[in-house]
Structures are given as C-alpha cells and as structure tokens.
Chain length 335, copies 3
Amino acid sequence: MTEATWERRHVLSLADFTAAELETVTQTAVSFRDVLSRRTRKVPALQGLVVTNMFFEPSTRTRSSFELAAKRLSADVLNFAPGTSSLTKGETILDTAKTYLAMGTNLMVIRHQDAGVPQTIADEMDRLQSGVGVLNGGDGLHAHPSQALLDLFTLALSLNPDQPTSQALAGLKIAIVGDILHSRVARSNLWALTACGADVHLAAPPTLLPPGFAEAFMRQSPLPIHRQVVQHSRLAPALENADFVMTLRLQKERMTQHRLPSLREYHAEFGLTRNRLNACEPNVKLLHPGPTNRGVEISSDLMDDPALSLISEQVTNGVAVRMALLYLMGVGKGE
Amino acid sequence: MTEATWERRHVLSLADFTAAELETVTQTAVSFRDVLSRRTRKVPALQGLVVTNMFFEPSTRTRSSFELAAKRLSADVLNFAPGTSSLTKGETILDTAKTYLAMGTNLMVIRHQDAGVPQTIADEMDRLQSGVGVLNGGDGLHAHPSQALLDLFTLALSLNPDQPTSQALAGLKIAIVGDILHSRVARSNLWALTACGADVHLAAPPTLLPPGFAEAFMRQSPLPIHRQVVQHSRLAPALENADFVMTLRLQKERMTQHRLPSLREYHAEFGLTRNRLNACEPNVKLLHPGPTNRGVEISSDLMDDPALSLISEQVTNGVAVRMALLYLMGVGKGE
Amino acid sequence: MTEATWERRHVLSLADFTAAELETVTQTAVSFRDVLSRRTRKVPALQGLVVTNMFFEPSTRTRSSFELAAKRLSADVLNFAPGTSSLTKGETILDTAKTYLAMGTNLMVIRHQDAGVPQTIADEMDRLQSGVGVLNGGDGLHAHPSQALLDLFTLALSLNPDQPTSQALAGLKIAIVGDILHSRVARSNLWALTACGADVHLAAPPTLLPPGFAEAFMRQSPLPIHRQVVQHSRLAPALENADFVMTLRLQKERMTQHRLPSLREYHAEFGLTRNRLNACEPNVKLLHPGPTNRGVEISSDLMDDPALSLISEQVTNGVAVRMALLYLMGVGKGE
C-alpha cells in the first residue's frame, strides 16, 4: 500500500483534495477490498489504537460501517452515544472530545447535525498537539467525505473492476438528482468528481436547487475546477447521455416546509424510472447513498436490478474506503 | 465436532428438525460447554466472520447471549439498534438487512415482534444467493428456536451430565405451564420435545390455552409425531409424575386484556409451589425461559433452590447452544 | 506486578482500604500506565474472561473508561443497557445480575442511583460461591472507589512522575470544594486521602456541607484516622497553603431544591478562579472528576491551563487505574 501522496492528519472536507490524494484513497481501498474478500478479513495495521465514533447525530448504518472498518484493522472501538452522555449534564462538545482524547483515542469519527463541528474538534486536537486525527462522518449540510470517497471508489470499480482508478472518471457525465440544497453528500461528491475531471449535472426543482447554486459552488473552490458543473430544473437534460446517475434521499420533512407539493408529484417529475434511463448511456449505472425511499426518488425495480444498481456495492465499498481512510490517518501513530 | 447431519443454512423454526439434527446441536453444544469451562474459553472457528444482531424487538439478555457466543467463536459482532436506525427514516426491514449483508455480514440473528420476519429475510438472502445464514432470535408468537434448543440441551445435561444426549428424553413426561397461547418458547419446545420422543403435557387456564390447541398443533406438524401432546385446564394432571416442569413467563398485560382475573388468582391455580411438586417424579427439575415474575408463575424459594431449579443452567447453556448454532451455520463460510 | 497486599474479591468502598492496598493499586496502575504508552497497549492478562458493565445509572464517560480498560486487558466486554432490558419486564436487579453470572461473567462493574446495590449484588455472588468480583462504578451518594483511586494515582504521579507513590501524600493539604453532601466522589476521596496521611479541608455553603459532617465522617471510619478532616463554610481557609484543590461538579438541580440562590452567586463565593489560587502553595494543581460546568465551579481558563489543571490526566489515569483494579480482581480467575 502506498501513502505517497498522503500528508493529512484529518479528513474534514474534500474541497481541497487533489486528484492525487483521491487516487491514493482509491488505491488503498483496492487493497482493503482484496483483504475483505479473503478468509482472514483482518489486518493488524491499527492494533492497539483506539477509534472513537462520536455520533451526535445518530446513524446506525454509517456507525456500523466505521465500526467494522476499525475492527478489521484490529483497532479497539469506543462508541459515544449522546443520549446517555454527559452532554445532557451540560458538558461542552469540546470537553467531551477532550475526555475521549485523554482516554487514549487516536482517531475520532465525528457526526453532528451542525456544520463545522468536526473542524472545531480537529482544531482543538491540533492546538493541544494531540496528534489525533478527526474524520468527518457527516456534519450538517457541509460535508460527508467518506460517502463521496466510497462513491468515487464505486464508480472507479464499476468502470474497471480489474484495475480501478479514479482517473477513469475524466470526461464522463455524472448526474446528481434530488435534494441537492440540503445534501452534504452532493457537496462532497461535487468536489471529488470535478477534481477527477468528470462533468457533473445537477437536477432538482428550484426549491431544492436554487438558481446560481452551481456557479456559487465553483467560485468557492480553493483548487481550479477544470470541468463544468451544470444545473437543471428538469430531469431530462441531466440524464441525457449520462454515464452514472446518483439520486439523493428525499427528506420527507421537505413537504411540511412547503418545498415540494407531494411525494407523488416529485416522483412524477424527478423520480428515476426505467423508461427515463433510455436517455442515458447504454451502460448507465445508478447510485444512492441510502437509505432509500422506494418509489419516491427511485422506482423499486431499478433499485433491485443488479445490472443497473450499484447501491449494494456502495455499502460494501464503504467498509473498504473507511478502512483506507482510517489506515492512512492512523498508520504510524503510536509508534 | 461432527456436522454429520447438518445441512441447514438457516435456523428459523424447529418444526421440521429431525431427531438427528437435534442431537447434532446437542453434541456440538457439549463440545462448546467444555470450551467454556477451560481457561481460554475462545476458539478461532469464526475468525473474520461478521455476526450481526438485528434486534427489532429489544432484549438485552438474549442479545448479550448471542454476542458472547459470537465473540467466543472469534467473530466480529455488529449490533443493530432500531431506536437510532434508518427504520425511523422509512427504510424497509429488507433494505436494512441488505445493507448489513452488503457490509459483509455472514450470519444474522433476527428478533422481531412480528412472526415471519426472519423467514422473509432468509428468503431474500437466498434469492440474492448471498450465502448468509439467518438465525431466528424470536419472532412474534411463532418461534424461538435457540431457546428451545438450550432447553433441550439443559434437559439432556440434567439427565446425564457425563454423556448428555437428546435421546434420553424419550418416554419422559414434560409439563409446560402458563401462557402457552402467547408463547413462541412453548411452540418451539413442543417441536423439539416431541421429536425426541417426550410426552408433553400443557396446563393453563382456557384463556391462555384454548380447547383444541394440542390437536391443532399436531395436525400442523410436517414430520410424524410419535408422542402425544395433551392439554389440561388444571395444573394437577400435568404435574402428576412429570419428570420436568417448564413454566412460562406471565405477561402482565394479559390482565388488562381480561384474560386473567388477577396475578394472585393465577398463582393460586397455576403457580408452581413446593407443595405442588409432590405429585411429580422425585427427581423433578424446573425450567423457566426468564425473565421471571417471582411469586407469580413460580414461587421465589423454588426458583432459588439449586436442587430443583435449572434456570441458571439454562442461561449458561444458552451461550454454548448459541455457539453451536453459529458454528454449525457459519463454519466453512468465507473459505 | 505485585499483588502482595491484595486479598479482595470486590471493590465496593474505600472505607476499609489500608495504605498498603492503596499503594498496591497505585503501583499496579504505574505498570499499566507504562503499557498504555507503548505501541501495543494491550496485555493478555484477562484473555477469556468476561467483564460486564451493568450501568443502571447511565454514564458514557465512565462506561467507556471501564470498557477500554477491559479491552486492553484482552477481556470480552458485555454492556448491559437498562433502557432496553428485562428490568422493564419486572425482573429484579439480583436476577439480572445472576443472569449475567450464568452467562459466564467473571467481573461486574455496577453503577446504580441507589447506594448499596453493588454491595447487595456482591453479597449474592458470594452466597452463590460464584467467585465473581464486583466493582462499584458509583452507587448513589455512597461511594465511587475507582474515581478516588484514579484521583490518588493522579496526585502521586503529579508529585513524582518518575516514582509515583501514594506515600508522598503524607502531610499534604488537599482542599475539596463544592457539593460535598451529595458527592460519592468526595466520600471515597476522604477515605483514600486520610489513609495516605493527607489533611483534607472541605469547603462549601452549609446547605451542601452541613455542620458536623467531618466529625460524623471520622466517627464512621473502621480504621484509625491519623489526620484531620476540617470543614469550612468559606473557601479562603480551605485554599490557604493547599497543595491540591479538588472541585466537585455542581448539580444544577440543587437550585430547584433551594439549596443555592444562583449559579452566579455560587461562583462568586466558591468558584475557583486564578486570583483565589494565590493563597495556595505555589505549585498547586487542580482536579475535577468531570463533567465540568465551566464558569460555575471552576473558571474556564483554569480548567484549560496545563500548568494548573490535572483534569485530562485524571481521565487518562482512569484507564490505567481501572486496568489495575480489573487485573487485581481478575487475575487468577478461571485458571
């Protein structure tokens, strides 16, 4: 395994990830995907290290994925459950993080409903010269880097199962459909996909994708963006000749916020159906970060069609990519 | 350890378990009971495999037993907690199971308040040719196979501690007392005990054991039943010359459903007391699946009398039997 | 590692701990603190043993510390979560404990809101000749021995990082400030500190430290107390020439019980601030069992000053001390 281009202590956002770093994660994930297919399925890489999952926003699925990744690297795992925690006793989030640091945590996975919490904790860990690495497990509407990295790995693996590389994405058209405005997954994917040279087309009703969103995104980029991000208020132009289509989960609370008339109407205009995929490239594949609302953002038959859906692959690759991230961040610690 | 007669991928019910299969589980549990009494207490049999406990119906006791069994076989364990899960986000149970499959789960233990959920998940796992084994950890009023198997092992061990065998049950009289109508434990025990050639006598008030229950049960059997199942609306005939008495937990909500007049009256008519045991065989022993209502279905002094109660033995044997089941279902996977 | 002076099966209170026993814990913790600073960080001492955390009163922080300590000793850990437990089904606490005993638990860590529960469980474990060791993880207002032992170890380490010994506390002045009446931490510290020959000065408003508290404490002692415990209703005399100051968490519910006028007033009279520390010895250090209310019992800047605060050290030492306790209680079991 190579860490040639890895200098990061934390993984908080993909905004400043270079194509070389994305490729390092991809290649490291390739190695771990191989490990997972062997009998042993464990490597001693992080033996003796402590990975603490601090999920202030609950998510069994993502927490399980990180927990399994850490265990497969032979780390010890602590799970912090906010419901029964000192937070209810008035302790600050930073003090909670410092408590787990003092217990011996080497790597923290932080998920929080507010954007910026993982960054704040990472800053504090650096200020204390702790050496702890912080991995953003999803923060507010800001970022969800491990999800975008597993999406990227899934795309690379789909394009070339024998020699997957993130470079294969260059020049492809990727459609992202759904509640982009409220999606940290979409934001993290935008950084990763454009860095790899893909064209990204966004499609959603204007209440979920306001005019100017794509331009604003490109202006924020700390790195030069070589490819276009294009936004559409209809589905058809996004799907046209698309190589991959990524649908996002529709939060049902958007209805009560008057952003959508009804689930049925949303499905009629933006739901993925077999018929609509005819406009895409013949080998088009579908992604979804899960959990899905069957029959809302995607029809049930598409989701279950192994010739089209990469959704299960995404979950499987999630463990390999999270192993790769924990490995890259953790190896060398404690020596 | 022999798996001579083991061909099952799943353990969902004991309705079609042959006497040979019951004996295979018993003998495998004997081996693991020996392991548990040694210093090491761990075997590497399932190293690298993932056992996921999906307890949609919470039960710390049963979940801990499965968790410990899996750890003693060196498996990695994931616990799915419905309270903080994607289910609240509208994901279906099958999608949840498929997510854990995609993460790399090899064996699933499913507990659910609705009958049939483990079967549905097992069918889906087979349809996907996943190779995953599903173990029913208790579903609605349908079945609780690991409980009945640990009861069987406890009976066999009680009859002959040096060479326990399920065959020793042939011709014995076992009384099952309590809320049989609402008990998945009773149903699973009926299959196992009759397959081993025991006579089973059921006793409960008619509201908890409707007329015709025993006949209906025997008509359902996919295998020929060689022994009688007899039902009684009074306790005395069930206890007469019984070799073992199994009491069931009385759900207190039965009162509010007007199935029982009062706990006191229930105890007066069907509660096990020392005096009533005089009608049984001299060496009679008592079982209870727990948790118990002391002084309702069983008097406190009986429960704590090591000469009579096998209740602690049942819990201890639960770990050995669950190790046996996970081992039989899991060995060979991933090779 | 020496267990020269260790004869205890349980650790329930420090009331009858001798200075020699306190030193045994301290020296064992020294060894484990060394282990924790090495690459491996794990020892196989308790391999095959089961440590069950039974936290009837929730505490993520303390539970994580015990869990990590047990894992570092290579034990298997079960966590009992009361919310989803049989207790809601009416099972008694003793039956819950016996269930975990029957599953194969070797060591139990018990935390409960009522004083005496760990003792009751320990008595039952002894009555059953189970050999199980019970460690009090905090019970009501009674005791929190592992917290006081980690405080003691932290003091010893602060006084002499190269050769820490509890004997170095002899003749020092330790101030304990805050809600002493409702603090099991204060009570356990009083036993440990006086046994090591320290002078302890308590300071709190009379509603949190009633007249006669110190005398009543000393009268209770089963061992002769060689040093004075002095109580003050003002902060100044407690801080004067103090070598260490320990502040306690202020439970905000004390306000609603009319024991305190306001947090602001409490901070004005008893809150630790930099200015007030001028009265202490020049090398004074601060302890707090956590979680803290910043700006109430201690000012934020003091808490974060590494030259003054031992709070992070306490958390780190908590893992080493809990490893020491589990090791001393568990080694030899199951052989």
